[in-house]
Subunit: 209 residues, 2 copies
């Protein structure tokens, strides 16, 4: 007689999103930071990741660094390609979210239609739009990558805030003012939002697997 | 004086892949199942997910269900689109792997060049090619989706194994024979492989975060 499998399987068979969320002790979600260049999206995404990791949450940061040279390497900067860029980012965010992770994205994403498209890919409560609000003058003064200078000199065309529009969110889940608060204060506000809305529910460790 | 942040941040700042792997107590990797239609790829991927979840590993199953209608909805079945389909799947697998998850993919992926392209996206030890080896006659007898019948009737053109080639892996990390072993036995072999090669290192819970 052949031996039975040495391995224990998850008693309910297929692993569901809810199973993962119970073990992770938090819900999956996409926290979509949107705002001008220099407003602090990447800084907040990384700091938030750090705060969530300290709480043992499963997180994932999606930004230009990990998609432009990989998944979206075939895309340029035409209007169609920009939309396709955001669409694929949204689809990847959805996959991670449905797998129970808290996704943190950091893209200017200046158009409402694009952001709403991503929102439409997910369950209503999965998408948390965070308006990283910072006065243009402050962003331009920071100019961490020297992009505003180039845009003013006409070396970059269609630069958001200078020569291309930024469409502010009309009903973001939360707005963070990075020109009046420290990054840490913004993170406190965002964590408060997640806690108040049940995303960080600390389930008791009852999941006997 | 403004209060300091209420939140604790991860003491090392940016969260690295190694940080996640230590907390997860296993390594990130992509387990790439390849084989004929009906060979058992999806069954093994789901069963493996269940076995790994029971060990509290972070896993992710990528199969036709979650990419064809989402990320790859713009792709058809031309040779170029098939290659782009596998490329994007590989890129998504890489993102999850670098985030510390064990990814389980279930695609026929009949061409060596495509599988090697995905392998080339990752660190050498990140990609575990699993040849799900099953005699064509057995696959055709199972025919869970009735596809072989349609292919024999000429209703499906270029069907792998019937009217299109399947290029067997030349140096898969592991070969599972699903025509001579139960799925559970195959999972045992695969878990043994992961354990023997240090993927499931059970680190002590020392990571004080």
């Amino acid at each position: 007689m052949k031996p039975k499998s040495k391995n224990i399987f998850w008693e309910h068979g297929n692993v569901s999103r809810e199973d993962r969320e119970q073990v992770n002790a938090h819900r999956g979600a996409t926290i979509w930071f949107t705002g001008l260049s220099g407003s602090g999206k990447s800084t907040l995404a990384r700091l938030m990741e750090s705060a969530l990791f300290a709480r043992r949450c499963q997180t994932y940061v999606l930004d230009g660094d990990n998609v432009r040279h990989g998944l979206n390497r075939d895309l340029g900067f035409s209007p169609e390609d920009r939309t396709e860029n955001i669409r694929r980012i949204g689809e990847v965010a959805r996959l991670f979210t449905e797998n129970g992770s808290i996704v943190l994205t950091a893209f200017i994403s200046p158009y409402r239609a694009d952001r709403d498209m991503v929102r439409g890919l997910m369950r209503a409560t999965d998408f948390i739009e965070v308006h990283v609000d910072c006065a243009l003058e402050v962003c331009e003064q920071r100019d961490p990558k020297g992009l505003y200078r180039k845009a003013r000199a006409g070396e970059i065309l269609e630069f958001t805030g200078i020569s291309a529009p930024y469409e502010k969110p009309l009903s973001a889940e939360i707005t963070l003012h990075t020109d009046g608060n420290t990054p840490e204060e913004c993170i406190d506000q965002l964590i408060d939002y997640l806690e108040a809305n049940g995303y960080l529910t600390q389930l008791p460790e009852t999941a006997e697997v």
